[in-house]
Symmetry: C2
Subunit: 379 residues, 2 copies
């Protein structure tokens, strides 16, 4: 039997968009999020309680048939407590592997997805080995995702690597080779409980100060590369036994793909699907978790998405742009905080470029980015 | 300034779809509907109180900036009470004219929109004049819309007309010439506060037992006829000074258009726009009422909509049909009650026909129609 009551861990904008997609499918969402003003509260019941509140967690579990998340940094103990009570999708394996950058990279490699050279840095003596494996041009990142947005340093020399590790308080890290990429792309795809996979066209992404600025669908890459990218996403979904939507972010370097990271949930680079694809990534995630058949991931026109971060333009200005749609999350703007996105569609690539230029102009004017203000949770 | 808090009179499925379209635009809806389980309650605040409850009406008016409706049979006294407090869109003229079939037809004629011959029947002596004007093949309808779905009789002779009027308890009626139509079509269109008009492609409708069964967009009519139909809708919007979405239903008879009726609100024959048009009729209505620019009404593919009335299939069955989407209203099925609709899109007319045949098959199997069970409110 397919489910009609689904619990969602986290109540940010991803939860809000999941909830809005769920209602027409006859699915009631219950959101668990400590924040009393969690954006998702407009799209379902909201339980505002601490992650450690076992009574609230038990009530949450009792009120739903299945559990999913829009926020992967749920404390392990809370998740274990819930998993004893109700099935959690996409599954523990997806969460475990992507919560540790070393295990994630090892997993990707074992699944047949190309990754750049990398090495663990847990004790000082490993710095030398890491340099030998990776080289002097690399990126040092904390192994586990933090809530504070910090945790990444670009490195150009052995000295910089040592200083970078000092600045990260000697946290367990991964040191990855810097990839001199031409483009960043991602594939958002959904896997159903029966193993059916529905992949969206590969998307081209542009980040500014570490925050996604804009996505264009489909990406301007060869058919061959697009097929390869989709193949990698399928291998990841299958190897994880993932049920739901995920995103695989990749670099295109010298015409080949190198996987960067996996987000085991609906993803910012898939927001364009709300207006640009026949079924959104949010609807397909809810369909998968509920045990329903997946919807068509095709697109009839060209599409793009631009994030509004830390500031909002007048709605009139956005909505006057042909083909533009606005998705406000109901959050007060502050630097580095994603508060909305603009979708834009057009029948031709040239028209999309023209419209997108206007949309990007608006976003560049109002966006206030800040590396250290927004939690990494909605990367 | 554009509005962010909008009151909606009525909380049925039209309200629900308005509310779901409003959230991403940063608009909070407050729904006024006596029914405690009004479907729209999932998409905004819901005030459940009687239409005569002045305290509740005052609270409703105080909590919003503007008022609109999804249900046009709001008692006149309640509406007047609200209109003294906050602006009501689409406007009193739209409501007044369409609440009386005689005034509606006279208005259409004066706006330059062709209508069939008609006559008022208020006293018995008018029956003869009506027969002389209209002929013996006609339809007798009550002038004002009832809540009980009754109020229409097809007539083939003078005797039948007299008996029909008896059966309608001698209510004030309109007697209209029967139009031997080839097709029923409608144009859904939105007018902004600044006079901007955005019309959707003309739609072809099929009714079963007086309830809309299915709409196909665009209608299979000539470009010339489509342009004429859109022109009529524009004339109606302008003559009413309407702000918001409305639907003009027309017959195609012998290659020409004859207007049937106006619905001064979002309309069932526009539900396909949720999945089939670049901006839905619901979003454009909220944009118009809020004072925002209207969105693109174009479609990138062929689209159709089929109503589920009085029964529901398994969700799996619908969602497994390519290009199909499901919109459940959260209502318990009973005969004659609209409980959901299925949207379907396809890149070609032939594929649409094929998919639509499957969708119609599902609907025909589960639908339980009944002439007298469903209020006319969501016609």
């Amino acid at each position: 039997m397919s489910a009609t009551k689904i619990g969602v861990l986290g109540g940010g904008q991803l939860g809000q968009m999941l909830g809005l997609a769920a209602i027409p499918l006859g699915i009631e969402c219950v959101f668990y999020d400590p924040a009393p003003d969690a954006p998702a509260r407009v799209a379902g019941r909201h339980i505002s309680a601490a992650w450690s509140d076992r009574e609230a967690l038990a009530e949450f579990a009792a009120s739903v048939e299945r559990i999913t998340f829009e926020f992967e940094n749920v404390p392990a103990a809370s998740l274990a407590f819930l998993a004893e009570r109700k099935p959690v999708y996409p599954g523990v394996r997806s969460l475990e592997l992507t919560s540790d950058r070393i295990r994630e990279k090892e997993f990707l490699r074992s699944a047949g997805v190309p990754v750049q050279p990398f090495a663990a840095v847990t004790v000082r003596s490993e710095l030398e080995l890491a340099l030998a494996t990776v080289g002097t041009h690399g990126v040092l990142k904390t192994r586990t995702l933090g809530y504070d947005g910090k945790g990444q340093r670009v490195v150009h020399s052995a000295d910089e690597l040592a200083r970078a590790w000092d600045s990260l308080d000697h946290a367990p890290c991964i040191y990855e080779a810097f990839v001199p990429f031409d483009r960043e792309v991602s594939v958002v795809a959904t896997r159903g409980a029966d193993g059916e996979i529905a992949a969206y066209p590969v998307v081209e992404n542009l980040h500014t100060q570490g925050i996604l600025f804009r996505s264009i669908a489909p990406a301007r890459v060869s058919d061959e590369l697009a097929r390869a990218a989709e193949g990698h996403a399928r291998r990841v979904l299958e190897a994880l036994g993932h049920v739901g939507t995920l995103a695989l972010e990749m670099f295109v370097a010298d015409g080949t793909l190198v996987a960067n990271e996996v987000a085991p949930r609906v993803h910012n680079s898939g927001h364009w699907t709300i207006h640009g694809a026949r079924t959104s990534q949010f609807e397909n995630h809810m369909r998968a978790v509920a045990g329903l058949p997946l919807g068509d991931t095709g697109m009839a026109e060209f599409a793009a998405m631009v994030n509004l971060v830390g500031g909002l333009p007048a709605r009139e200005e956005v909505l006057a742009i042909p083909g533009a749609s606005l998705q406000l999350y109901g959050k007060s703007p502050r630097p580095g905080r994603k508060v909305a996105h603009i979708g834009v569609v057009a029948p031709t690539r040239a028209e999309l470029d023209e419209r997108l230029a206007r949309v990007e102009g608006v976003a560049r004017r109002v966006n206030r980015l800040s590396l250290h203000a927004e939690p990494a949770r909605h990367a």
